[in-house]
Symmetry: C3
């Protein structure tokens, strides 16, 4: 099994970071299998969406509406006010996704990207783990 953990700079705001180029490079030459993309954090998720046409910002709008960062709404009270919602996020946007790899190429559709979804403004760096399971 090949596995790689690396750090992504996410800054001090809610953000969507495209991990696709890193994942493609990781899988290159590895043949057939599955790639697991996993973030070892309790306040981030991994999604597969289109980027570059506004859907990443639309996602943040949806998250803000469905899980508002209101200070008095959440029991969890560490960190920046409203941070409690960041801890609910991974139940809906899982920190784990797997994607098939065929002959070293991730079988994504034309408009799909693998992205890190991070609403946590208290943590400017995030770890990401790629794992390749040979088929």
């Amino acid at each position: 099994m090949e596995t790689l953990e690396f750090t992504v700079a996410t800054g001090r705001g809610s953000t969507v970071v495209d991990l696709t180029p890193n994942a493609e490079q990781f899988c290159s030459g590895k043949g057939d299998g599955l790639i697991s993309v996993f973030v070892p954090h309790a306040t981030a998720g991994v999604a597969i969406i289109e980027v570059g046409a506004g859907s990443d910002r639309d996602l943040m709008t949806a998250i803000d509406e469905l899980l508002p960062a209101a200070p008095d709404r959440w029991i969890h009270e560490h960190g920046t006010p409203g941070h409690g919602r960041d801890h609910v996020l991974p139940a809906f946007i899982s920190p784990s996704v797997t994607v098939p790899v065929v002959d070293g190429r991730i079988a994504l559709g034309t408009w799909q990207s693998i992205v890190l979804v991070d609403t946590n403004v208290d943590n400017p760096n995030r770890s990401v783990r790629f794992t390749f399971i040979s088929g």
Copy 2:
């Protein structure tokens, strides 16, 4: 690794399509492992729910409430008005799911079906990829 991509007709409305019979046939005789069910589209998801007692329609109601297809709500503006919400959907209903396979049989519970969730009315056909990883 065995992998199969095929096309599903989804028509011009929001729909839930049961993929379980196809997945069962794909896994038959393959022994122990994992099946990955993946849709290479940025406006569809894969879910595991009950079908046949109204829950598929309940799911569509929930999606319409949580991610309304309102034209002025989303930045993404290609396609039918309101289509932007279809691009947010896969962050919440992932296009990828894996299920254990034991002796060629998918280890689903009695009431579980693997379904394609497609709210995109602009695309009447969808691709689905099954991949079997031997355990």
Copy 3:
């Protein structure tokens, strides 16, 4: 492939049950690979969240707001009034998650736990299946 199905007591209320100790024990000594955590039920999900600081209760609050257990809201009408929402839950909180395992240890972050999310008050016991795919 090694796979294990076991029963968890969830009682007669909505609950979050930490499966991490069971999963760690299951993976111990198994080397590198992926663990699949799967619940064979149509009214439960598996999530990776922090437990112990209120986020499990925050998750239940969010579920109650996003998928209200209102009797007249859902088509599915078996079981306790409002139970229809339990059948929509797994589309948003999938019954399946995979996590990398490195040298027999699940590669979870410090604050992550693998939990069963069960809003179904009609079923006091749940099955869980762990599967280890060697890498």
